[in-house]
Symmetry: C2
Amino acid sequence: MALGKNYDAQDCSLARALEVIGERWTLLVVRDAMYGVRRFGDFLAHLDIPRAVLSQRLATLVEAGVLDKRRYQDSPPRDEYVLTPVGHELWLPVLALADWGERHLSGTAPRRVFHHLACGSRIDGTARCAACGVQVSIGEVEVRPGPGLKGIRNDPVSVALRTPHRMLHPIP
Amino acid sequence: MALGKNYDAQDCSLARALEVIGERWTLLVVRDAMYGVRRFGDFLAHLDIPRAVLSQRLATLVEAGVLDKRRYQDSPPRDEYVLTPVGHELWLPVLALADWGERHLSGTAPRRVFHHLACGSRIDGTARCAACGVQVSIGEVEVRPGPGLKGIRNDPVSVALRTPHRMLHPIP
DNA sequence: TACCATAGTTCAATGAACGAACCGAGGGGG
DNA sequence: CCCCCTCGGTTCGTTCATTGAACTATGGTA
């Protein structure tokens, strides 16, 4: 979103954030990374995003310190993209946005529900556990398929998320 | 963001939300509406956004039920854009995003701080009052200029926000 | 050697954003 | 009555980003 036509004049932290995660596809890439997607091909298959755009978005996120690109095997050389601690903290905004979309746009039952690993209770739109009352970080969360989920897609990521899955843990 | 090249295949409430508020400029328009901006010209002056884009974004937000367009005087006929209850609930996502940007991207002191009107204490990134411990809705919040704010702009909105201002209350 | 998998890059066509100019309804002053 | 101003847009040519298909590079496997 850079290149002169950006939000620089805004002197606002929301505008700063949008410079990094406000471009088309970017937040969906982050969401997938939270689910545990790490490989180029898995992002590609799950998002139906043009390869060139995915490549550019991953690079932007790495540069911004949201993702870390690291070698996970040498032969053949393969890299994976993993959320950094800064990326982990996007958990709250992402959850809040998804919760808003769920409540005001979808009109059906939730597609995915998030549970506190420690106690199994659901967490709300601010990542608070209904039972414990504590703020739950993304590492302590499990995603489960919700009643509103339609199992349309058959890419590896969609298939893996049809059963409960711990956030951040690698898919598949 | 519509027209075939959208996020429809995603069956995800985050993607649904991004269809509405994920386009360039849209969330900044919503932020301004939260500050109390209501008139076309004020959005224009504060955002430095092309008129055509602003016009289109406002129409999209009205159609999505985030903003309400209403006549506030008849001679000459003038309309204003006001947040609906659905728009009010974007408070949490917007605050969470701004908080993330503040903590991880700006590197300076906060530009704006949000206080609970009832008690005067600051609220955190999940809109919880530090003192009361309650979730604070946007109507009970006051924005104040923070130590990191640089008073560069001189449009009516920027000027009004250089002093404490109650969220949603009309500017100027 | 041929073939496959992964992770990209390149490129032409399309669509969106930009910014300047224009438009129209309605005052207000002279 | 005429001119000019404001507000809230629309129009339009240029520039920029996205799309989707084809191509490249590297290394492994049969």
